[in-house]
């Protein structure tokens, strides 16, 4: 269309960062340090608040050697690479483990109140880490880091911050990316960011699953737009599940992972709807030795085989625990007081819990500078693949977002400074804008987008969840086809143009989620083995030839999945 049929709100910048969580904030700070003149952060919710960084409870791991002088980046490398079942990108792991100490210390100097012992940071022990290397701020480490980063960002004079922007498409020409286009949620108008370099820092996609510990924003938008633009995704089959996430009652003002602490109180029981202590029956010693993934599988199987609670979980019961033991176990995070304040008597109530999607190891394939296969496009944080391989060690997420965020910010600034030509103009309406307009102009009573979003989450939970089979994955892929058709043909909004249109938000997110869901299922089906966080019931063993990565690319309307040996 000529001269942009509609007036298009356009913002021009050197560097555009999509996502205002921990990785996005760190990227913006480092892009400015590296000399970028103008940096924009576009966030779907609120910069420095939305996303999953604030939800990080305890640990931010870096081999500082403050608590144990034997620790160093080489040991952290070994732990991380082994924890990732030997398919992580060794170069990315090396960079992560070598640079994490400096990034964490910068934050400590910048005002994040990591707990200290004199001039040294206290470091706690985490499962899978040889030495204690978890820096922490009580049970609110992620929130403290995020608030520190937000403060630094506010002081950064060359960073402009845009809240309530739902990005749905990257702007590309001749294999290069020049920014992104999205919906301004406040006004329901189209906004585009023209940028010499673009960084995707939108996090993972926990919301693809019916049960998740992640924030409601976590719908994998950045992964979807990168895939759509032609950037390859990698390791998408590796979704980490957290075994003990609260289903009911709601832990008001507490992390969903809180009931984990109930499970480990002496005298606690975990049982299914039939009252069977299913974990004890198989592994009497599980509280001491059972790994997260395995416990997730046991719980998931109970529910899938029909022995779960009506809300889809199992029970944790601490009625027999000594009150003093309970108080002690729940002292962390002030949980004991919070549960009391909720009016819940643990002597009377069994807590319904279940496995829940927690973290995506896969994501956009990147090189050492966060660069993707598309010139001008970078990725950082949970949206990027390669550091964690097939599984992530606890405590490696909060430090990894700093390292990959900083690297991508610097590289994007340098890339932008080398671009001398003028930016192309993008004024034509795309199929996206036409779809959104069509939805807004013809509200009616029909299938709402949330119905499809819930169906997608249900489909992923059942067919690409903790325990997978080739048969279920095939079935799941077929269900996705049906949902895609329904989204384009049947879905309607109940009302027309209003600011902050939550149904329209559901529709856009669902459309983006479908692409990401397809990648997870496709890669999970191709990987005919169990490794790291992927468990295939039909291929329960690890295979030597599985030491490889699956790379997913969109070619026309198909997802092509290629295997690349490590």
């Amino acid at each position: 269309m000529k001269s942009g049929a509609q007036s298009l709100d356009t913002v021009v910048a050197d560097v555009l960062i999509i996502g205002g969580g921990g990785a996005g904030c760190e990227a913006a700070i480092f892009a400015q340090k590296a000399g970028a003149d103008s940096i924009c952060v576009a966030e779907k919710g609120i910069i420095g608040a939305s996303g999953c960084t604030v939800m990080g409870t305890y640990s931010c791991c870096a081999a500082l050697g403050h608590s144990d002088p034997r620790d160093n980046p080489q040991v952290h490398f070994k732990d991380t690479y082994t924890g990732g079942a030997e398919i992580a990108d060794p170069e990315l792991v090396r960079i992560f483990t070598e640079e994490a100490p400096a990034r964490v210390l910068e934050l400590a100097e910048g005002g994040v109140p990591f707990e200290r012992e004199g001039s040294r940071l206290k470091q706690g022990r985490m499962f899978g880490h040889t030495y204690p290397r978890a820096c922490y701020v009580g049970m609110r480490t992620g929130q403290a880091m995020q608030w520190g980063l937000r403060k630094m960002l506010k002081k950064a004079p060359r960073v402009r911050r845009y809240n309530d922007i739902q990005i749905y498409r990257l702007l590309g020409a001749d294999g290069r990316i020049f920014g992104a286009r999205g919906l301004n949620r406040r006004t329901l108008t189209t906004i585009q960011f023209l940028a010499k370099a673009t960084i995707i820092a939108t996090g993972g996609c926990g919301q693809l699953y019916a049960h998740t510990t992640t924030s409601l924003d976590n719908t994998g938008d950045g992964l979807a737009v990168a895939l759509e633009a032609g950037a390859p995704l990698m390791d998408m089959e590796f979704v980490q599940f957290y075994p003990v996430s609260s289903i009911y009652p709601r832990p008001a003002g507490m992390n969903r992972t809180m009931p984990t602490f109930l499970a480990f109180v002496p005298g606690s029981r975990m049982y299914n709807r039939l009252g069977q202590d299913f974990v004890d029956a198989q592994y009497p010693d599980w509280r001491k030795s059972l790994a997260r993934d395995f416990l997730s599988q046991l719980i998931y199987r109970e529910v899938m085989e029909g022995r779960g609670t009506p809300r889809g979980g199992v029970y944790i019961d601490v009625k027999a625990a000594a009150p003093r033991e309970l108080e002690l176990a729940l002292a962390v995070g002030g949980y004991y007081k919070k549960i009391q304040k909720m009016g819940i008597d643990l002597k009377e109530t069994a807590w319904e819990v279940g496995a829940a999607s927690h973290f995506l190891m896969g994501g956009i394939q990147i090189g050492t500078q966060g660069e993707t296969k598309l010139a001008g496009l970078f990725a950082a944080g949970e949206a990027a693949a390669g550091v964690h391989g097939a599984n992530r060690l606890g405590g490696n997420a909060l430090s990894e977002i700093l390292v990959t965020g900083a690297r991508a910010g610097q590289a994007a600034a340098r890339f932008a400074s080398r671009q001398t030509g003028s930016l192309p103009s993008f004024s034509a309406k795309t199929e996206w804008e036409e779809w959104i307009e069509k939805l807004l102009e013809k509200p009616r009573t029909a299938t709402g987008p949330l119905v499809l979003k819930k169906s997608l989450q249900d489909c992923m939970w059942k067919n690409a969840g903790v325990i997978r089979t080739g048969e279920n994955l095939k079935k799941g892929l077929e269900t996705l086809n049906g949902l895609e058709t329904a989204l384009s043909d049947e879905v309607a909004l109940s009302h027309g143009r209003t600011p902050y249109h939550m149904e329209l938000q559901d529709a856009i997110e669902t459309r983006l989620m479908l692409g990401v869901a397809r990648c997870i299922m496709t890669a999970a089906e191709r990987r005919e083995e169990s490794r790291g966080a992927q468990y295939r019931d039909d291929f329960p063993k690890l295979k030597e030839e599985g030491r490889a990565n699956f790379i997913l690319t969109r070619v026309k309307n198909e997802i092509v999945c290629e295997k690349r040996g490590r």
Binding site: G20, E43, G45, I46, I47, G48, A49, S50, G51, C52, V54, M55, R140, G142, Q143, R150, K154, R161, N163, D164, R186, S215, L216, D217, Y248, P249, R250, P251, A252, G253, M254, N255, R256, M342, G343, I344, G448, L450, K454, L493, S494, H495, T498, P499, Y500, H501, M502, E503
Partner: protein
């Protein structure tokens, strides 16, 4: 509105201040009946309204764990996170004061 078959202890009424600055209409309270109460938070109530009762209601929701503070509103006159507040029988929800309202419970946040 249809009455649910549950006992009074198991229901909750939320009165929510609705306002769209794009129209000339004054803000007004709308009442929503929830078929649950104990063990659930106000955020669960809002998400239930969004899913089952009224897709036009606007509110912010993110971490659901009391950590991001994105959902902050006035609950019975006090600034609170719906995800940190358990449902009571009757509650009144309004947008934060001294902030520009985008619509209903959503205000402009400059981070």
């Amino acid at each position: 509105m249809k009455k649910s078959g549950n006992t009074p202890q198991e229901t909750s009424n939320l009165r929510i201040l609705r306002y769209d600055p794009a129209t000339r209409q004054e803000p007004s309270l709308q009442e929503y009946h929830l078929p649950f109460r104990s063990g659930y938070t106000v955020m669960d109530g809002l998400l239930h309204i969004h899913e089952h009762i009224d897709g036009t209601l606007a509110f912010r929701a993110s971490c659901q764990a009391g950590l991001c503070l994105a959902c902050l509103v006035m609950i019975d006159g006090r600034t609170q996170c719906p995800c940190r507040t358990l449902l009571r029988g009757q509650m009144k929800l309004e947008p934060l004061k001294n902030k520009k309202v985008i619509r209903d419970l959503v205000v402009e946040e400059e981070s």
